[in-house]
Symmetry: C2
Subunit: 211 residues, 2 copies
């Protein structure tokens, strides 16, 4: 009775085909720049077919970003992490910035666009808190380790708060870059300089003593 399985596999194949085409268009044109019709034409299906695999446009691209950002957490895992806890935080920050800069449309949809109160998608429960796929959890873990090693100032005890501050700091650099890059009325310094100073400054402010 391998029929159902074959069908399921076929269905998943189609789904992946949609996702792959969506990814290609999305990277080039962003969320609003991609129409369902265009996407359908690319994979040579009718637009309706997409709705057999995804509830609507937003869910499709959310799934897309979810997959690709899982790879981010993977990168954290794979990259050999420095042993020094401060270096490690720096390394995470730089990796995050690089990822956001490489995939600005992904970044925009995931972190610069408000989404409806959204019930958790399937699979989200396993994701949350698992450092292997959840980049925030990985950051928090590293912050915890740094705190255990006594790196931070004594007053600072809330690992969530610290993690969120570090996150917001690099997020500020990336998102300002994505949204305001073209702006004329401010002489923007090169992205790398801003990212470097931001990491330097925030970590200095968090640590027990200037090195």
């Amino acid at each position: 009775m391998g029929v159902k399985e074959r069908r399921e596999r076929k269905k998943l194949e189609t789904r992946d085909k949609i996702l792959d085409a969506a990814r290609e268009l999305f990277i080039k044109q962003g969320y609003d720049g991609v129409s369902m019709r265009e996407l359908a034409q690319m994979i040579e299906y009718s637009p309706t077919t997409i709705y057999l695999h995804f509830a609507d446009k937003e869910q499709l691209f959310q799934e897309l970003c979810r997959q690709d950002f899982a790879r981010l957490a993977q990168v954290f895992q794979d990259a050999e992490m420095p042993t020094d806890c401060v270096e490690r935080l720096m390394h995470i920050g730089r990796t995050y910035v690089e990822f956001g800069t490489r995939y600005p449309n992904h970044y925009r949809l995931m972190f610069m666009t408000p989404h409806p109160p959204g019930e958790l998608n399937e699979g989200d429960c396993e994701v949350k808190g698992n450092p292997e796929v959840d980049a925030y959890a990985f950051l928090k873990l590293t912050v915890q380790q740094a705190m255990d090693a006594g790196c931070f100032r004594q007053e600072l005890k809330d690992t969530d708060l610290i993690s969120q501050t570090l996150w917001a700091a690099v997020h500020g650099v990336i998102s300002l870059q994505i949204a305001k890059f073209h702006e004329i009325w401010v002489d923007f310094r090169p992205m790398e300089q801003r990212a470097a100073l931001m990491l330097d400054v925030t970590l200095r402010g968090l640590l027990k003593e200037a090195k």
Copy 2:
């Protein structure tokens, strides 16, 4: 020959009427949530009339945000500024955060949405660099003063870079709040705590010595 003047005034009145209605809807519903038809109905004109005063939807709401953010720079001016330079930077940061939190839709359109390479609008030339209407210029000025007073570490000499880092820091807190507030998979600390720690940390990292 007061005819032309009367006509012009009338036209400006209509324009302001449009802007006022747009503001009301925009605050409640955001850019995508407001349709030109709805806006037209509110002011009891036909949708086409709007296009006699504004080139398109985006330009309308850009003008709206431009006006309202000029008020932000005004607030900086009006508020009695602390004399201590660090306190002053803190004050600016807090004011900025408060403004962004109060008008999230404004903030989103202005600082979280990429706009086409955009030629400068009329009036932008006078705005740029003028601390009375340009909030960034005001920040940069204050940074310059702090630097002149010898507050910062010696290596830090680029006022633009420092300003942009401070800006990105608070921007990170605000924009993450706006975009990710509803998210379940991270236990967000209260906005105020995050903003406070961010300001504390970045300024500590910039200043010559811990106080």
